[in-house]
């Protein structure tokens, strides 16, 4: 992979500190793993820069004037009742990083983001910085999604492995065909059906928000119980569809392995089937699934917006939709940036760690 964008050059320059600059080329030739890691890290920075840049320009090109929106909101709330003067508008533009042409805005935005980790003030909750608004909703999303994603991955891996192992048996056939039918159904279909059955028909579980508003947030058994109860339906709807997807892909990886000679050998040695499954067969297909899991984290985020919307769950997705409705640029771009950053970083870490976990993986020459 050749480095093409200008930041890549500077990146290589910076990271060259870790490698001796004199004879660095020779040193890298002798340490292919380090060379691979450096190249991979350079690519990571290029991708990160590219994605953040595309996201920035994309959202800035949406027509609409956020400052007018803010001033209208302030006027509606009687914060001040006379017409906003040019001066005030200019100050707000400066404050939100909306003055000057789009390229100077971009440079300033990147400077604040990289040097200070600052996303600028949030329009919705002015003067709270956007990163604080995001940090407020992030724990809900991570708590709900993280748990659901990990659980569906483990469940899918186990069930998928068994379905592949016992292929041809009735249970396995049913599981496989059910997975084929349901693996690509949108999360919120399940969410809708679950809400209809458990919240409206049976009245057993709450359908909206993250906790009972009658209970004050804090570390108490009541509050934690309420949070868990409220997370049950949205979490389960994400988990169910995710599990079907993982069952399908695990089975697809598992089945070709089953014909391999070393499994026949293990069987001939008289090992118990369960041991062959876990020690021999599963080991060979769980590493690709680790990579797939890292990549999937970002795509779960896409569907999650809808699930959070449906359940009125105070996570990142709900924050994002509200922010888009109000043209709160700093928050919108911030949420997108977090998604981009987490996917790319997850994939980078996996790429760097996999050669250590699996001796067969070799990216370098």
């Amino acid at each position: 992979m050749t480095a093409t964008a200008p930041p890549a050059e500077t990146v290589v320059g910076e990271s060259a500190e870790s490698a001796p600059s004199r004879g660095g080329r020779a040193w890298l030739a002798r340490h292919p793993l380090a060379a691979y890691a450096l190249r991979r890290f350079g690519l990571y920075l290029v991708e990160l820069w590219g994605a953040l840049t595309i996201a920035f320009f994309f959202f800035r090109m949406i027509p609409g004037d956020p400052i007018q929106t803010l001033i209208q909101t302030l006027q509606q709330n009687y914060v001040y009742n006379q017409q906003a003067s040019e001066e005030i508008i200019e100050r707000y533009r400066h404050e939100f990083g909306l003055d000057g042409n789009i390229f100077s805005q971009y440079l300033k935005y990147m400077e604040n983001l990289i040097l200070h980790g600052d996303l600028g003030p949030s329009l919705l909750n002015y003067p709270t910085p956007a990163q604080d608004v995001i940090m407020h909703s992030l724990p809900w999303t991570i708590g709900l999604l993280g748990v659901a994603a990990v659980m569906s991955w483990i469940l899918g891996l186990v069930i998928g492995a068994i379905a592949g192992w016992r292929r041809g048996k009735l249970g396995s056939t049913i599981t496989t065909n059910l997975s084929i039918a349901l693996a690509h159904v949108p999360f919120f279909f399940v969410a809708l059906i679950l809400v209809y059955v458990f919240a409206y028909t049976l009245g057993m579980l709450p359908a909206r928000s993250a906790y009972d508003s009658a209970i004050s947030p804090g570390i108490s058994a009541d509050f934690i119980g309420s949070v868990l109860k409220h997370a049950l339906l949205p979490g389960f709807s994400i988990m169910l569809i995710g599990t079907f997807g993982w069952i399908l892909s695990t089975r697809m990886l598992m089945v070709p392995v089953l014909g391999e000679d070393y499994l026949v050998y293990a069987e001939a040695k008289g090992l118990k089937p369960w041991r062959i499954l876990t020690r021999y067969a599963l080991r060979n297909c769980y590493l690709p699934q680790v990579t797939a899991f890292g990549i999937s984290l970002g795509f779960i985020f896409n569907g999650n917006v809808l699930v959070e919307q449906l359940f009125n769950y105070p996570g990142l997705g709900t924050t994002l939709v509200t922010a888009i409705q109000q043209l709160d640029f700093n928050t919108i771009i911030g949420v997108t940036d977090i998604a981009i950053f987490s996917v790319l970083t997850a994939v980078l870490l996996l790429d760097l760690l996999l050669p250590l976990l699996d001796p067969r993986v070799k990216y370098w020459k």
């Binding site: 590219g50 693996a183 070709p256 089953l258 917006v305 809808l306 997108t336 981009i340």
Partner: protein, 291 residues
Amino acid sequence: MRLLTATVKTVRQSHRLAAGLVILTLMVLLAVLSPVLVDAIGKGTDPIELAAYEKWLVPSADHLLGTDQYGRDVLAMVISALSVSLQIGAIAGVISTVVGVVVAFVAGYKGGWVDGVLSTFTGILLVIPTFPLLIALSAYAKNVSLFQVGVMISIFSWPFAAKTIRSQVLSLRSRPYVDLARVSKARDLEIIATELLPNLLPFIGVGFASSALGAIFGLVGLEVIGLGPGGVIDLGQIIFNAINTGALTLGAWPMFVVPIVLLTLLFAALNMINIGLEEVYNPRLRGVAGE
């Protein structure tokens, strides 16, 4: 003709592929015939017109699926909505497959720095979460048409197609018969059209099916937040009308159940085609992947 017999042979190799194709064909047929069917349901009048009938009629012989909050016939709505959903899938599927194929061939066949630049760019687009962008686009592009939504969705779905196809181009490029064609002084374009493209058709098919799935899902998702294109009723909109008007408590359950069943069936059919094609063309899965 040779292509036709080859297709028939492929389909006969996999029950899943056959089943998926049958379901999909039936749905497309239903969609194509939708104007005729809607006419027949209305018996001369337009059954989807506001206040065509009484509001909230429960399913009966006259209205098999009842009527909605405006007195529209639900069966007629579902049929025409199915055709809208399939259209968006087709529009976005075609655009993103074409772009994906072009990018994949240029990258995979040229290699070198061209491949480096294109693959990095594809990778960058892949990690940008699509749904926020889509919400933003349709929220501020007022009065978007169905076609525009299709284009917007395909902007973000071609990288998937490009990625799958590129890896196949890479593996095919170094096959002996391609070398042979190159030695016999065939031009690049000729090699691509006659040697590579026919062998990649199943993967292009897989790319098309997943892009179409993504587009239908994307449109339904936009409807959830109330940001779909103006003036068209797709299956997603019927579902969310049902929720927002409390149709479930009024006994109008078909408004909720029928679109979900249809969409699930559509997803299942496209998924079966995907998996069927992979089974047929991936020799490692052949045989063992069957029951």
